[in-house]
């Protein structure tokens, strides 16, 4: 089936089988391997991408469902000016260890901050509930999102020493 999908601002017209999952289309057809495949069942969030402004799990969506949509993946997060504030936050606050969950965490965090640029700690934890991390214990991920939130609002971001209350 012919689909036309915009990925990180570039239009792609491709012929895909209806059963091709969006994550496999991104990784195998387009070579964008930044989006990870974890559980493949919709639970871990490693495959999270943003489709028409909403975070979704690309292992649980067929590429044909994204026909005509605008997809954003972790490859599109940084620009010529440098890392996205969320990426910078993960860097500065040690928001990753093995890095497996990181692309999904970053895309969920970007979607969260686009909806609410000043989330409480509780809202951050709820916002990334669909993303599992087996390494960090989440504290530094929360700090990373707080860092990005401050930066996006033009405030002085705090580094890894910021207080997390729970």
């Amino acid at each position: 089936m012919e689909v036309s999908i915009s990925v990180n601002g570039t239009n792609h017209s491709s012929d895909v089988e209806p059963r091709t999952l969006l994550v496999h289309y991104l990784r195998e057809d387009l070579g964008l391997t930044g989006t990870h495949v974890g559980c493949e069942t919709g639970y871990c969030g490693a495959c999270t991408v943003i489709v028409d402004g909403r975070a979704v799990k690309s292992c649980t969506m067929f590429a044909v469902q994204a026909d005509g949509a605008e997809v954003r993946t972790v490859e599109g997060a940084a620009n010529d000016a440098g890392l996205h504030p969320v990426q910078e936050g993960f860097w500065e606050c040690h928001g990753l260890q093995c890095g497996y969950c990181t692309p999904g965490m970053i895309m969920s965090s970007i979607a969260l901050l686009e909806e609410n640029d000043n989330p409480s700690e509780d809202e951050i934890r709820h916002g990334i509930e669909g993303n599992l991390c087996r390494c960090t214990g989440y504290h530094n991920i929360v700090r990373s999102v707080q860092y990005a939130s401050a930066k996006l609002r033009g405030e002085e971001p705090q580094g890894a020493s910021a207080e997390v209350t729970t």
């Binding site: 493949e40 975070a55 649980t60 969920s108 979607a111």
Partner: protein, 282 residues
């Protein structure tokens, strides 16, 4: 994990979708895909035709219809959870949608899809039962309305026919409702181990009518009729609430799994009925 191959159609109108559904042997409706796609990947269902209804205009609306609100087939969990009409007139449904899964799943999955799928522990069906909602089902044969109390038959089984699409759910206005849940992972982000929705009409002090629905406990979300009867005609005293809670699992077979034994679930059903009633009567 790939499902077997299938034909994919994305009709641009409801009529086209209904004909496609009537004309195919082994077709499945795809709305949000949050249950269908995992089942297809695990090859537990193998439709030969998948009919994606997400491109049909107009199905994604929540509208005020006077004495009820109407929630269209493509209204996603996230929209149900935050919509002002749903929050005002069908609070339990808004709360159940907000407590369904995680952000990404709520962005894709639909309220009607959750009802049509009818998982034994699904959140929103309990709210639908307590609110006394009506399902609107369409097929090439016409449209019919099914009361929630007659809709859920058994695990993953409803009274929808294989050629029917659930086009909307109609929730009557009036009364007050809440949904209270204990999720499998402590927070809400997964199916409940037990949860209760309560609806009461207490406009004149005494409770003139009530409905309580429980999910996660038995083979389907169910109306706890005797429990609800225990508070009708009372002023919602703690004795009346305790009497209702003690009858939460009357007449049903309580199931057990790795998340809880029969005793634990029976206990939880009472606790959550009590909490839902306390909240709704506040």
């Amino acid at each position: 994990m790939y499902p077997p191959n299938f034909d994919y159609v994305a009709p641009a109108s409801l009529d086209e979708a209904l004909s496609a559904l009537a004309g195919a042997d082994n077709a499945k409706v795809l709305s949000g895909g949050m249950s269908l796609i995992p089942l297809m990947k695990m090859r537990l269902v193998r439709p030969t035709t998948v009919i994606d209804i997400s491109r049909i205009p107009g199905l994604d609306a929540i509208t005020d219809e006077g004495d009820h609100i109407r929630i269209g087939a493509m209204v996603r969990h996230a929209q149900t959870a935050t919509d002002p009409l749903v929050n005002e007139h069908a609070t339990a449904l808004a709360q159940a949608a907000a407590a369904t899964a995680d952000v990404q799943v709520r962005n894709q999955g639909t309220t009607c899809g959750s009802i049509a799928h009818a998982d034994l522990a699904a959140d929103q069906p309990a709210a639908i039962l307590a609110l006394g909602a009506t399902m609107v089902a369409a097929s090439v044969r016409g449209t019919r309305e099914i009361p929630a109390a007659e809709f859920f038959v058994d695990t993953l089984t409803t009274t929808l026919e294989s050629d029917e699409i659930l086009t909307a759910v109609k929730v009557p206005k009036g009364g007050k409702s809440v949904y209270r849940k204990l999720g499998r992972r402590g927070s809400d982000s997964d199916y409940p181990i037990a949860a209760a929705a309560a609806w009461v009409d207490a406009s004149y002090g005494t409770i003139s009518d009530a409905r309580i629905a429980i999910t996660g406990v038995s083979s389907k979300p169910y109306l706890a009729t005797t429990a609800a009867q225990a508070v009708v005609g009372t002023d919602g005293s703690s004795e009346a609430i305790a009497a209702a809670a003690s009858q939460a699992t009357d007449g049903v077979v309580v199931l057990e799994d790795l998340y809880g034994t029969v005793e634990y679930r029976t206990h939880l059903a009472s606790v959550y009925v009590q909490r839902a009633l306390e909240d709704v009567l506040q």
